[in-house]
């Protein structure tokens, strides 16, 4: 091959941002609709749409009363939660990868998932002693609240270790994250060891993730905590692009580097803690989804960050559908589905990377 041909052949073209984002939004909407219509009780697409149209007074619902009950009381909150959590985990993953300048970073890297898991498991195993002191209305909130605070605390500890003279060292944060993750795992291991039969069941189920906890009661609190930090992450897309050049270089381009690091860590910790506290641990979404976007559309964060949020929303809704349908009427933990799909896919990514590096 001549040099000319080589240069011409390797010129990279990027797709335009708006059409890609629009397409992904449509994909999320389609999977959302499928999530509403499909399940052990089938509701036709037209019935689903007419039920919604009825609610806003545009048409008369053709769905049965039972179908409407399932649709609005069970599936709608669940689909909304799946969309929100999928968006949050994927966007948090993309932001972490940008911040750490490492495509293998994951929201869990700063200890947020492990901290939330430890607090949740502690609540399940040791909570009995305290729970009966609370009013029955407060009891269902204890576990998510503990998980949320646990996740934030773990991140705060990790960040504290990385701080020196008011500057956060990204490398130290990464290493401190490894240590905190190990410590939390040890704590979870110990609690699992002393847990009784019934605690063990709920504990295992929680650590593998489920969207089953979605109710209209929990959503008004959970959704804003998941969605608002995710949206706020979108402010820093340009700065994250500059960050790819290096911290010092981003500073030379006018990025307030310390503020950016603080902001991203806080938003990621909030979004991930809130997600984990309502759904348990759902792996691979934060790792794999941003990769897909980068492969297809390039690494620019103005596309990757919102694109990951939309694709994450679509894929987690699809994964929840699989989790609900595959062993119906029982339910598979959604973390098992995402890991089953995400694991092989990630291996394929690695193989592709090696192949590309060879040529």
């Amino acid at each position: 091959m001549t040099t000319m041909a080589l240069n011409a052949g390797s010129a990279v073209r990027r797709p335009a941002t708006a059409p890609v984002l629009l397409g992904l939004a449509v994909l999320a909407a389609v999977f959302g609709l499928a999530g509403l219509a499909l399940g052990p009780l089938r509701i036709g697409l037209l019935d689903t749409l007419s039920a919604f149209a009825d609610r806003i007074g545009l048409a008369v619902s053709t769905a049965s009363q039972q179908q409407e009950a399932v649709l609005f009381a069970i599936r709608l909150p669940r689909v909304l939660l799946a969309l929100a959590v999928g968006a949050a985990l994927a966007a948090a993953g993309a932001a972490m990868q940008g911040l750490f300048r490492n495509p293998l970073a994951d929201p869990g890297l700063v200890g947020v998932s492990a901290g939330a898991a430890l607090a949740a498991v502690a609540t399940i195993v040791l909570g009995d002693k305290v729970l009966h002191l609370l009013s029955p209305a407060a009891r269902p909130w204890v576990l998510p609240a503990a998980a949320f605070i646990g996740g934030l605390l773990a991140t705060a500890v990790v960040r504290r270790f990385g701080l020196r003279d008011g500057r956060a060292s990204v490398a130290t944060i990464l290493l401190a994250g490894v240590a905190i993750n190990a410590l939390c795992s040890a704590g979870i291991g110990f609690l699992t060891f002393i847990a009784d039969e019934q605690q063990l069941r709920s504990l295992v189920f929680w650590t593998m993730g489920s969207l089953g906890a979605a109710t209209w009661k929990s959503l008004p609190l959970a959704l804003p905590l998941v969605v608002i930090p995710t949206i706020l992450l979108m402010r820093d897309t340009r700065a994250l692009d500059a960050f790819a050049l290096g911290e010092r270089e981003a500073g030379h381009l006018g990025v307030d580097v310390e503020r950016l690091k603080r902001r991203i860590l806080i938003m990621v910790a909030l979004a991930t803690s809130a997600s984990v506290s309502v759904c348990g641990i759902i792996g691979f979404v934060g790792l794999v989804v941003p990769h897909l976007l980068r492969i297809a559309c390039g690494p620019g964060h103005r596309l990757v960050l919102p694109g990951a949020a939309l694709l994450g929303a679509a894929l987690l809704t699809a994964a929840d559908l699989v989790a609900r349908l595959i062993v119906a009427p029982a339910e598979m933990p959604i973390g098992v589905v995402t890991a089953l799909v995400g694991g092989p896919f990630f291996l394929w990514l690695l193989a592709r990377r090696l192949r590309l590096a060879d040529t």
Partner: protein
């Protein structure tokens, strides 16, 4: 005097990286920073760029310490090309250079930005690489792309200050012979009424050919500073670098050759 240090000292622990350095850079000139390894060139550069506050003394950019400038306004007034040439993720060359226009967002039009990026790519001789992925480039190509990025950042006048500064830390380190000269030639052309360049160089002959003034540093002190011809004296350089030097006059430009004391290869082989 628009970018100047006054009696600047920088210490880390017990080590003194800079001691009592007073230096001024002007628009319209290329100022070369020279000195052996560990002389404090990069430290001085980071003080001038506003990355590091001096422990004693002051540094002023248009009358204010760079560290007190709003970061975005500072980025419109001075560009820094560091020795780091790594870029995370598969950005294209064009995307990397386009980042230079980030601090100008909302102040220059998209068409102007495009024109500036194209011109900077051309000036650094990387136009043919624009569509390539940055991680696929060689070390020298990456360095030229980083130079294009620094040029694009301070390409046009800004309302923030009457002039801009281009700071480059060993910009020619990975470049082949032709591109070493081409890049410094480009910097010479770029420097005009509104822009001054401060360039750390290791090659004395490149400095002699392209710098208007030279600041010679040794062990954290400013040993000499002045017009290139007077400052680059063979005996002074020999003293600082600890080598034996001779100067040759090459059509008005001094050219330095190192007198080696090592045995010629043939003799050394014979000794084995």
């Amino acid at each position: 005097m628009t970018l100047a240090t006054q009696s600047v000292s920088v210490r880390i622990g017990s080590a003194t990286l800079l001691h009592d350095v007073s230096l001024a850079a002007q628009p319209g000139e290329v100022l070369g920073l020279l000195g052996p390894n560990g002389a404090g060139k990069s430290t001085l550069m980071s003080v001038l760029a506003g990355d590091r506050k001096p422990d004693t003394g002051t540094v002023q950019l248009h009358g204010r310490a760079p560290s007190t400038w709003p970061t975005e306004a500072l980025a419109r007034v001075r560009a820094v090309m560091t020795q780091s040439a790594s870029v995370a993720f598969d950005f294209t060359v064009h995307e990397v250079v386009a980042l230079a226009r980030m601090p100008h967002a909302g102040l220059t039009s998209a068409a102007d930005d495009r024109h500036i990026i194209t011109s900077a790519l051309e000036l650094a001789d990387v136009t043919h690489l624009a569509g390539r992925l940055y991680p696929s480039l060689s070390g020298g190509e990456r360095q030229r792309v980083q130079a294009a990025r620094a040029l694009a950042q301070v390409w046009t006048a800004t309302a923030d200050a009457p002039c801009r500064f281009l700071m480059m830390d060993e910009p020619t380190a990975s470049l082949d012979l032709r591109h070493q000269h081409a890049l410094l030639e480009a910097v010479r052309r770029f420097v005009g009424g509104g822009v001054g360049a401060i360039v750390v160089l290791h090659d004395i002959n490149l400095a002699a050919a392209y710098c208007d003034r030279i600041a010679l540093l040794d062990r954290g002190r400013l040993v000499a500073c002045g017009p290139t011809r007077q400052t680059l004296a063979a005996d002074r350089l020999a003293d600082i670098y600890g080598v034996s030097l001779a100067a040759i006059d090459d059509a008005g430009t001094p050219h330095f050759i190192v007198r080696t004391t090592a045995q010629p290869a043939a003799t050394a082989a014979h000794l084995l």
